[in-house]
Amino acid sequence: MRSYLAEFSVISPRSLDEALWALKQRPAPAPIAGGTDLMVLLNAGQLPPGAYLNLHSIPELRRPIEFVNGEACFGALTTYADARRHPEIRKRLPMLCLAAREIGALQIQSRGTWAGNIVNASPAADGVPALMAYDAAVELSSASGVRSVALADFYSGYKQTARRPDELVTAIRIPVPEKEAVQYYRKVGTRKFQAISKVLLAGIMVLGKDRRIKKIRLVYASVMPYTYRARAVEAVLEGRVPDGAAIKAAVAALRSELKPIDDVRSTAAYRLRVACNLLEEFLSASSPSRGEARRG
């Protein structure tokens, strides 16, 4: 059923200050960025009636991707197309391009935003795991100030986020990883493109000269009720050489850390098995991948 438009109102602010002021209303208006999540709900008659805040009218939010102090900085309206087309993103943050390619077709990538993917908080989001593996931070602005939250600390449960209703995501900061970092991004779905994932792993690993793991990030989508960083497994692996014994220990740790969801797209048992297989595949890739991450 279509929604009845008379039940909806839209505020199109002319400046960021005006937008943040509008967000002080109770209930706070819900931001609309690219609309690729919200318009689906509207068309299906499932969008809650009320006030919405059009982010496209705010000039401050429409800034290009910048690199500042070794970090890429995305704005609220940075789209997947923007990232895919950016030569520095392709070279230095290749998982973001792999993730962008996964998200709908080009007509969705030209509209959908990274900030929208973060705030929508789907456990199956494809952009969030890549950002989280890169240690991205989310800048949240409200009329009372600006704060920054690590994306890895942003989620606490299904659709539970650190964002208050009066806050806008105004930037996403993504540190460029070490040159020698091994990067891994693999989505397992029912077909190659344009399918929601059953399991996804985004990983980063930096080895020291002694081949011991100096830093590792393991981020899973579609396994837990929110995009999940497997910190216990990371702790097992840090300081170890990723050899057969370490991989075995990591897989055992993953089995006890993950409590996979069971839904229409897949079973918990399948998800756990594939999550372990992806971890093994990633840890076995010992040479820097230069972004040639695999896809499934």
Partner: protein, 158 residues
Amino acid sequence: MTAKISFTLNGKPWTGNVHPLKRLLDTLREDAGLTGTKEGCGEGECGACTVFLDGQVVMSCMVPTCQAEGKKVTTIEGLVSDGDLHPMQDCFIQEGGAQCGICTPGMIMAAVAYANDPDSAEDMREALAGNLCRCTGYTRIYESVKKAMEKMSVSEIR
């Protein structure tokens, strides 16, 4: 709640009083009277509603009309110049790239965007992957696009 919304439609200024959340698809068809743009799914999956928004391909069923404010919108009707079909349209006719025609306007918009900027996708298949066709089996569509791209000199590309 309606609002005055203005954008450039196929090169000419357009202004209308529409609800800001009304789908650009519906504004084009109902308020601007341009019914070339089609609706298939209404959920961003089929591409029948593809138009250009400031030169980029978008699904017009996913765009609230307020976000077209001040922008350039190009629809299938805007590809015709001085009564002549765009070379992409000609080639779809000649090569049998259209059968029932429901997917065709969106398919042609996606194809023209790719022809204008081949770097926007890895290849033609990816460029057209957001456009579903239940009739042709795609082979004739790919042939149409290839032929049009050969024919289109850079100056002809719009």
